[in-house]
Symmetry: C2
Subunit: 382 residues, 2 copies
């Protein structure tokens, strides 16, 4: 397998993008990434998107986007794995370059979520519809059960749980692409609307429009294009039970553990080597469980550690310097790619006020459903 | 890149499968393929499906299917490229094995199309919605324009065009998995309902439920599992304009030409080396244009050649020995994988009464939309 580098990135602002349709958003991000990487022509295209059929009544995004960005002719497909679609698309682009098939590969993610009335129904198509959504439980309810189980088992308080979105909003203040770049306090979280007990509105990632793209090439060609590139050192992916009731333990997300182990093994590093991590905080409880599965904290200790400041600058590891899904926004298909972009900025020392000092190795963790799929990347600055 | 082999296949019957939901169909095909390949455990899974969101209100098929076939834990994603989703999934599985990442990879395709009222609307999400479907033209109309242009330019008659479905129905008689395994005659075609002038019902592939799966492994490991395996010798893919109005010539499908050239180049063969081909005859005119783009006939001569018997047993090349999309059925996400299965049967001498004698090299061509995407595989018997 060839080593693979990321040589350029581009994204839209995340938020309510009423003036842009799905192709406009993708094209903006793709053309920015190509300009950033100094490439005019690509060899292949991967588009991560969860449910463009239900959100935008448009499938066949590979063809549409190749055409719309002026690269018609290249092989182009869409990758779908619910909210991990973007990260999985990066994994497919990695395989393509690693295999030797193509050299310059554009990987993007996109989701246009604000144009439909019932976005929560669409998101529920990532769950086991016949056993979950059709019986009335959507994702806030599923993650509420995880939160309740975790709080009971480990004694995590409601106030401690609230520290996750408080931290992520604080990080987002320094991210110009974030949907909600402002701070929130404990009162805001605890007084926000109840969504699914114990989760309140401020525990939940938002509905977001957005797109994010990166350019991959063989590591040994990266210098032809730029001096700002990073190496993809580890890639791990796993599936988990799609239905929450099939998890052996509600406080575990085993696909995250498996994907993390595979990425660590491939990269030859341990959690102690990771300087920062972008995790999939679709709900506040998810960040805690994920941080444990990835080995940053012992099981049951992650919630309290993050509440005590171990997940921010000066702590054990900076978690979600971008602001995470909660504050940066969560256009589901774009999220996994945007995480990679944050890692790229950090590892090339371009993260501005949110720069993690001396960042050399970073990780991204992108997840579908209630742990039905997960993909982890370990990236290294050069 | 490592050489890749197909070591086992499995599929459901194609048709109206009212007793099976999307996961039942996939599991049937997947477990048959694993049994056929003598493998009990897989390393990775790819699921081709066009619009499971709109057809079955279920996304996240990678996770769902990995779970439902008892392989939870493996990396699993869905691949989408409209009606070429299945073929593109095979291409992703090929890259995965070729790269050295995984050894035993299951690739499947599935579509559950009969459970919604307006399947034509769903299919139209493969077109350029904002410029085509929203203005009232769906795929029968798009291909009717191609047919009209071809007939005008090259003098193809309505009666000659009818010979495509007549041939494919004749082939399907010998395919136990076909949806419509019976012969039709000229009168049946010419008297069938007008769908979009000049295309009648018998020119159009049907609505179909079904699933198809194959098992891939490195060629040098194939003998561990079976003595019936084939080599994937060439893989080519391309995008084309998603909207028909962006084609420079209505009688051309340039993505097919490009994908074909890439596959020929990789395989080091020419059209004369191919013993049979499974093509994407979503409409009768498509088979003709595709056969020309792949180099089996000169431009403008394919229609008459097929009408004169050059596309069946004893002619220049057997086109669609399985019965093609028209008579075997077209569960869109499964089609590209089912084409590969037909090639596997032919190249391992298991095609029964529809066996192409001395078949050594076969080709499959799977297409999305009105040529917005295409993937071509060249397979070789061992």
């Amino acid at each position: 397998m060839r080593d693979v580098a990321i040589i350029g990135v581009g994204m839209t602002k995340f938020g309510e993008l009423w003036e842009q349709n799905i192709r406009d958003m993708f094209a903006e991000a793709a053309l920015k990434a190509m300009e950033n990487a100094n490439v005019e022509k690509i060899d292949a295209l991967y588009v991560g998107a969860m449910s463009s059929g239900l959100y935008a009544f448009q499938e066949h995004l590979g063809s549409l986007m190749a055409d719309y960005i002026g690269q018609v002719g290249v092989p182009a497909v869409r990758i779908e794995s619910a909210c991990s679609s973007g990260g999985q698309a990066v994994r497919m682009g990695f395989l393509d370059v690693a295999s030797g098939m193509h050299d310059i590969v554009l990987v993007g993610g996109v989701e246009k979520m604000w144009d439909v009335e019932d976005g929560t129904f669409v998101l529920a198509t990532a769950s086991d519809q016949e056993y979950e959504a059709y019986n009335g439980v959507t994702f806030p309810g599923l993650y509420a059960m995880i939160a309740r189980a975790y709080m009971e088992k480990y004694g995590l308080t409601r106030e401690e749980l609230a520290q996750v979105p408080i931290k992520n909003h604080k990080h987002a203040v320094n991210n110009p692409n974030a949907q909600y770049p402002f701070e929130i306090d404990l009162k805001t979280v605890l007084n926000s609307s109840m969504v699914a007990d114990p989760l309140r509105l401020m525990d939940c990632s938002p509905i977001t429009d957005g797109a994010a793209c990166i350019i991959l090439c063989p590591l040994d060609r990266a210098k032809e294009f730029t001096d700002k590139y990073v190496k993809i050192r580890g890639v791990g992916a796993a599936s988990g039970p799609i239905a929450l009731h099939d998890h052996k333990d509600l406080t575990r997300l085993e696909a995250v553990f498996l994907a993390g182990q595979r990425a660590y093994n491939m990269a030859g590093v341990t959690p102690n080597d990771i300087n920062f991590v972008e995790v999939h905080d679709c709900f506040s409880i998810a960040e805690i469980v994920v941080a444990e599965e990835l080995g940053f904290f012992e099981y049951g200790k992650g919630g309290k550690a993050i509440a005590e400041g171990q997940g921010t600058y000066g702590g054990k590891i900076v978690i979600n310097p971008s602001g995470g899904l909660k504050a940066k926004g969560h256009p589901v298909g774009a999220t996994g790619v945007a995480q990679i972009i944050e890692a790229y900025y950090q590892l090339t020392n371009q993260a501005g006020k949110r720069q993690v000092q001396n960042a050399r190795i970073g990780m991204t963790q992108n997840m579908g459903g209630s742990g039905g799929s997960c993909v982890v990347h370990i990236l290294e600055g050069m």
